[in-house]
């Protein structure tokens, strides 16, 4: 399926592969809930976590995943390494290669950085978020979370709300959801919607958040980076939360069994009102839990471990 391959993005991944990864992840989720969470599948394998950008959820869950599979994991972050001394990605690639890693998990501010690395090292490369481009493991954990609540993904209505332009989470989800036959509607300030969005992703751009959310099975809010105000893309956080914030009133217009998602970290009171973050529809913490399971599945499948 994906054995021996890089995971650079959701583009090009077919539905069978997605379901295959999620089925494996389901097994790992079950293991994660045991008292003894460790399996020997990747014993003796070396996994490097190379994070050029700050991250809590993604980094920790990849780290946990490696540990649960008994692999040897090492974390390299930008601030505490040669990266801070200005080492180029090319030199980093050569260095990583010399260390004989089996997999390199990379997060980088440059779109295409994992592709650059994949062309230059022999280890398998897993994209843990590149610039504005893709964040495939996030899309997979999101799809897993949706799949847990809805047996049939084909035909589900999804609303993605917020800063699509600067979101690699949105891009990977848009690709995966289209592959799985979901109807995606997006809403956000026009300054935060990239050009040709509908044509590229086959989604529908709505005029208002209300229109996007109405009748949705899944509502996914995106994190708003506060620096967007400085570049004149938005007048104020207040105006954003009034126009695009998700609150309980909006959620009344969704399907009865609708779920609310957010990739985290949430700006409470901006993308989501506090009551809906902690409300019944919220599956935000399921997303986090599934993140570990999905990353276990990815490492296991890519590195071809023995049966868990």
């Amino acid at each position: 399926m994906i054995a021996g391959q890089h995971l650079l993005g959701m583009r090009g991944m077919d539905a069978a592969t997605i379901y295959g990864i999620l089925a494996t992840a389901k097994g790992f989720k079950e293991i994660s809930r045991r008292k003894i969470k460790k399996v020997p599948s990747l014993r003796g394998r070396t996994i490097l976590n190379v994070f050029y950008e700050n991250s809590t959820r993604t980094r920790v869950s990849f780290e946990l995943a490696a540990k649960r599979l008994s692999a040897d994991g090492v974390n390299i972050s930008a601030s505490g390494s040669a990266v801070a001394k200005g080492e180029s990605l090319l030199d980093m690639a050569q260095t990583l290669n010399a260390m004989q890693a089996d997999a390199v998990i990379i997060r980088h501010a440059a779109s295409g950085a994992p592709h650059y690395l994949a062309d230059r090292i022999s280890a398998r490369v897993i994209n843990a978020g590149d610039g504005l481009h893709e964040h495939p493991s996030q899309a997979l954990l999101d799809i897993m979370t949706i799949w847990e609540k809805f047996d049939e993904l084909d035909g589900l209505n999804v609303a993605i709300v917020g800063d699509i332009k600067h979101s690699r989470v949105a891009r990977s989800n848009l690709i995966a959801m289209k592959t799985l036959g979901m109807n995606v509607r997006v809403a956000g300030p026009s300054t935060l919607l990239p050009r040709d969005l509908e044509a590229v992703y086959g989604c529908t751009v709505c005029e208002s958040v209300g229109q996007a959310v109405e009748g949705a099975h899944v509502v996914m809010a995106l994190r708003l980076q506060k620096e967007r105000m400085n570049s004149g893309l938005l007048p104020s956080l207040r105006e954003y939360s009034v126009e695009y914030g998700i609150n309980s009133q909006l959620l009344r217009t969704t399907q009865d069994n609708a779920i609310l998602m957010h990739p985290g970290p949430v700006n409470r009171g901006i993308e989501l009102s506090p009551d809906v973050v902690d409300g019944q529809r919220s599956v935000i913490l399921d997303q986090v839990e599934n993140g570990v399971a999905v990353r276990c599945a990815l490492l296991y499948l890519i590195l071809g471990g023995s049966q868990p």
Partner: protein, 426 residues
């Protein structure tokens, strides 16, 4: 002793000539032109059999970066000159954005001295429009003109200050100078990397919107009309830019425009896979913009095709897309790109070759780029149908930032003759 080029298809756009002819070159000048088979060689004469070949005035490039002085690790006038003559160019206008910037007479003279010493093609220096290309103070334009600068530009940068651009045009008009405009609103470009559209959206790369070019084209065209100055747009990339130039021309403004060869054959889709060779400023655009450029050439709105030769070494290109510098090689691949317009878009050979010869000559206001008795013997002999691979070995640049490396190209330069001397042959 003379050089006889026999039985070639002589294509001279300056006189709309398209006929089989013999051409005799004596002492660096064209001494005789006659019907094919009419001229005979003397015992000491060298003969080039051009049967089945096309013979054109030597190509004139309006914009190459040859990186000397200052960045000789990317290119120098010798390697750039070798690339140029291999591409059929006998005249190359050299951009002033070197280190240091060509913004004074001494630097202009340096380029000319090197050109003469190398004896490859004729390098024509341009001078910066503003001191250090900083967009603040006008450079000594008249002094550089006297030293031999043929046009003025901040190459790679616009003059963002509209008042300064007006002054530059007005001042240049007084001396009959030509200004070359790099049309880009830096604020609108917003540190983008690739044409804003489906590709930038898909790849998550910051976009360079078409409107960043078009607003400055509109501004500069109106300023040219207002001041009466001669203004040339170095590399237009959008349909609306072509339209704005056409409007200005209809209004009687002395405004001309060129397209870079790569913008005529590549689109932003060629960036796919984060190929930094395809990171160019102005960027590769959509296919509809590409087609609009071709129509602009057909209609005569655009009168030049440039190499836009911009060497970058692996230091600038072997990195992530956002960090890579802009630019692609062009001198050796311009002819195949231009001939593509004849093959695929039914442009007349004379129209396309005009964009490499008489068109650039007219933009420079120079009496070059023609085949006539008494004129300098600058000629290019090529086979429009011969295919060849642009291999790393065939690439004569010091750099290798080209989307065409490893590709099979159609249209091959066989001989380049500059000032009567064969400077390139295969």
């Amino acid at each position: 002793m003379s050089l006889l080029i026999s039985n070639g298809r002589l294509l001279d756009p300056s006189s709309a000539t398209d006929k089989l002819a013999d051409i005799r070159i004596t002492d660096g000048l064209i001494s005789e032109i006659g019907p094919a088979g009419s001229l005979s060689a003397g015992d000491n004469d060298e003969v080039i059999d051009a049967t089945g070949r096309w013979v054109s005035p030597g190509f004139i490039d309006l914009g190459a970066r040859l990186r000397e002085p200052g960045q000789e690790y990317k290119e120098d006038l010798e390697s750039g000159g070798n690339s140029a003559v291999a591409g059929g160019f006998t005249t190359v206008v050299v951009m002033p954005d070197t280190h240091p910037v060509v913004d004074n007479a001494e630097h202009v003279q340096y380029i000319l001295a090197r050109s003469n010493a190398l004896g490859l093609c004729q390098f024509l220096p341009t001078g910066a429009l503003t001191v250090g290309r900083q967009g603040q103070i006008l450079a000594p334009l008249a002094e550089m003109q006297k030293a031999g600068a043929v046009a003025f530009t901040d190459a790679g940068r616009p003059v963002s200050n509209s008042q300064l651009m007006r002054n530059a045009l007005e001042y240049a008009q007084g001396f009959g100078l030509t200004i070359l405009s790099h049309a880009e609103d830096i604020e609108l470009s917003c540190q983008g990397h690739v044409n804003e559209g489906p590709v930038s959206t898909r790849l998550g790369l910051k976009g360079l919107p078409v409107v960043a070019e078009e607003t400055i084209v509109a501004r500069d065209a109106m300023l040219a009309e207002f001041t009466g100055a001669r203004l040339h747009f170095s590399h237009l990339t959008t349909g609306r830019s072509v339209h704005k130039v056409a409007q200005a021309q209809q209004a009687g403004a002395a405004v001309t425009g060129a397209a870079a060869a790569h913008h005529l054959v590549l689109t932003d889709e060629d960036v796919n896979g984060f190929d930094t060779s395809a990171k160019i400023n102005p960027p590769l655009r959509s296919n509809s913009d590409r087609l609009a450029l071709i129509e602009g050439i057909r209609a005569g709105v655009l009168s030049a095709i440039t190499s836009h030769h911009t060497p970058q070494s692996s230091l600038e290109k072997d990195t992530t897309f956002d960090r890579a510098e802009f630019g692609a090689l062009g001198l050796q691949t311009t002819l195949p790109a231009a001939l593509h317009l004849v093959d695929e878009h039914d442009l007349e050979p004379l129209t396309v070759l005009g964009c490499l010869t008489s068109g650039p000559a007219a933009i420079l206001g120079m009496d070059i780029g023609k085949i006539a008795v008494g004129s300098t013997a600058d000629l290019t002999i090529f086979d429009p149908n011969q295919t060849w691979e642009f291999t790393p070995e065939a690439n004569l640049s010091k750099s290798s930032n080209s989307s065409f490396i490893g590709k099979t190209l159609k249209g091959r330069v066989l001989k380049t003759i500059a000032k009567g001397k064969v400077v390139f042959t295969i």
